[in-house]
Amino acid sequence: MTDSYVVSIDQGTTSTRCIVFDRRGNLVSVAQREHQQHFPRPGWVEHDALEIWRNVGKVVPRALVEAGIGVDQIAAIGIANQRETIVVWDRRTGVPVAPAIIWQDTRTDALVETLSEAAGADGLRERCGLPLTTYFSAPKLRWLLDHTPGLPERAERGEVLFGTMESWLIWNLTGGPDGGLHLTDVTNASRTMLMDLRTLRWHPDSLAFFGIPAAMLPEIRSSSEVYGTATTVLPGVRIAAALGDQQAALFGQTCFAPGDAKCTYGTGSFLLLNTGEEPVHSDHGLLTTVGYQIAGRPAVYALEGSIAITGSLVQWFRDQLDLITTAPEIETLARTVDDNGGCYIVPAFSGLFAPHWRSEARGVIVGLTSYITKGHLARAVLEATGWQTREVVEAMNADSGLDLTALRVDGGMTANNLLMQFVADVLGVPVVRPMVAETVSLGAAYAAGLAVGYWADLEGLRSNWHLAARWEPELDETIRAEERENWQRAVERTFGWIKPEARAANR
């Protein structure tokens, strides 16, 4: 008997990866290819969507060769993708009309300020669960329509198509100009600001507010169903799942019950809490988003707290300060001292995200004395990630009324033992790491495998989840409270750094 496998494609911000998984959820092979980051102006970040599509065509066959398997052994394809990034392309030629605008891109700064004062801005947050900021797709799409001659008319006539990355890949995988399917899933659609969280449909008022022609939008589908069959790259294989990367990680961590939460520690970090079948609106600066939807079942919602700077603070420490040569060395340096020596680093490099949302804030290092060594700074770098996690967890507990009992973690920074212990210490709950670190890819594979019957049900997936490591809180409660207060005072010192006049001049 030949074994069958599930393939997941993770189209991320810096690279595109293909991972082959077996029935027990074990990683069989990986292939990865980075794509170029374009920074044409300050604040602009672009990708070449065609380069990314070509990379898919390279990594998928490579992963199959490495696994030693053929196309006929693939049961399904699942896609996870960088969220909020937009592509608009010509439906006849398949050529993008402009470079893809990446989620980090802040070119819509001024547009967002204008829109937030426009009529109709009030109802938006209630409908889509998101604050009006530069990160989400709709302002980016509005900007592109405004700055590309003739594009609004072509969009009205349905000559160009809009999509986030999974739409672009599915359309290309299913034939492109030759009958390609134009669709998106609820999790990705929930990041555009255009979808009504309750009906899971594009909302006409939101479309009108942003001036987006409905003709260019993809059809919204569930996250786990057979969308169609690939005609290229993996011809004949069913495409059976799509999720935004963080939602995919939630699924891969099998956070299927309300109250289950995971945090993915990477360049930035993303904490998602399953809140069940009702969207929970946040009073504490968190995002309300769709966690996943299995075909024919109600959507499962999540609260999300994003932390902009975590791993990238370590990279800054390495590349800009030159105090370490590799990222893992931060732990070695931090262990040369016993504590932070009274020093705190708040990395508000481009303002503060959840739960503060202060775009005028900028980073600070406080508590400097002649006693402070680079070891203390290294500690403060790691502790910043711990405290930012704590802030988001506090907000989630307050919004959801659920008290987090354990945090499931994944991502590159989980290799940092000191950090994981610190996160457990400041949260006061155990931090647990699953056996498969590649939860984003695994989540997409799970959702796809579920749709085609490769895995029977959610219970079956849960039994694949195994504990690889567990960190118990050890910090004394009094010290925790003191340090929490010190962090809060450090955060307050970042507020109001960018003067209002400077912001106005930048518009």
Partner: protein
């Protein structure tokens, strides 16, 4: 007497040249100074860069001596770096074998546990990263001793503690075990530390084949060993595969 290895002599000359230069040097400058074809100079410099002896400036593209040369005497692979680079291979080893996995390096004559993956049965287990194990009574330790003459001699000359009846405590039995590990490329420990427990380990190699750590599994002796009290061949293969995969990631060419 064996002949001189030309590329090593040239590499030494390049290092001396960079050390005596007041600023960074480009490939053209290095090649001209030593009268080498540019391609040859480039190949040597790139290899020196891979091992950390030479660094390239990001903006100018020119070369200078690398930080690794300054720390030649100290351990060249940071233990946290070792964990970070091996985490993706240690997990599948635990998943496939069904046993707990540890990665260790030698620190002051003991085995420092650098990474620990729980046995995948979701029972209560405690993370023991940072703890120290006796080198003569563990599979990880014996593998590390087999490739470190200095540390092995220190253990052989000391008085290794007998944990069980089967702990290797005489210089003769211990050095024979280490020879066997070098011959096989892996090692095992059967009830030498704790009754009822056994372990299998293999070396992790970095650039040039230098052993930088060991990866191994441990568990109940009836699961780790077969009916004849030999380590199960399938488990040995899993451990060696994982060790090879980490070594490949660290830049060891042949393993």
């Amino acid at each position: 007497m064996p002949g001189q290895v030309q590329s090593i002599a040239r590499a030494a000359a390049i290092l001396r040249l960079l050390a005596s230069s007041s600023g960074r040097l480009g490939i053209g400058e290095i090649a001209r100074s030593l009268d080498l074809p540019k391609g040859t100079a480039h190949g040597i410099v790139r290899t020196l860069q891979d091992v950390g002896f030479v660094e390239q400036d990001k903006t100018s593209g020119k070369y200078q001596l690398g930080a690794a040369l300054l720390h030649l005497g100290t351990s060249y692979l940071d233990v946290n770096e070792l964990r970070s680079r091996s985490i993706n291979w240690a997990d599948p080893l635990a998943a496939r074998s069904g046993e707990s996995v540890r990665i260790g390096t030698l620190l002051d004559g003991k085995v420092l546990v650098v990474h620990h993956v729980f046995r995948p049965d979701d029972t209560l287990q405690t993370l023991d990263v940072g703890s120290l194990l006796p080198p003569h009574a563990t599979a990880l330790g014996k593998v590390l001793l087999a490739y470190d003459v200095g540390a092995a001699n220190a253990v052989l000359q000391g008085e290794p503690e007998p944990y069980t009846r089967r702990t290797l405590v005489t210089p003769r039995t211990l050095s024979r075990a280490l020879t066997e590990i070098r011959d096989n490329g892996w090692g095992a420990e059967i009830e030498e530390m704790t009754l009822g427990e056994a372990g299998i380990a293999a070396p992790i190699r970095g650039y040039g084949g230098l052993v930088v750590g060991a990866i191994g599994l441990s568990g109940p002796v009836d699961r780790v060993c077969d009916g004849k009290s030999h380590p199960r061949p399938a488990l040995v293969a899993y451990v060696r595969d994982a060790a090879r995969a980490v070594s490949r990631d660290l830049g060891a060419a042949r393993w």
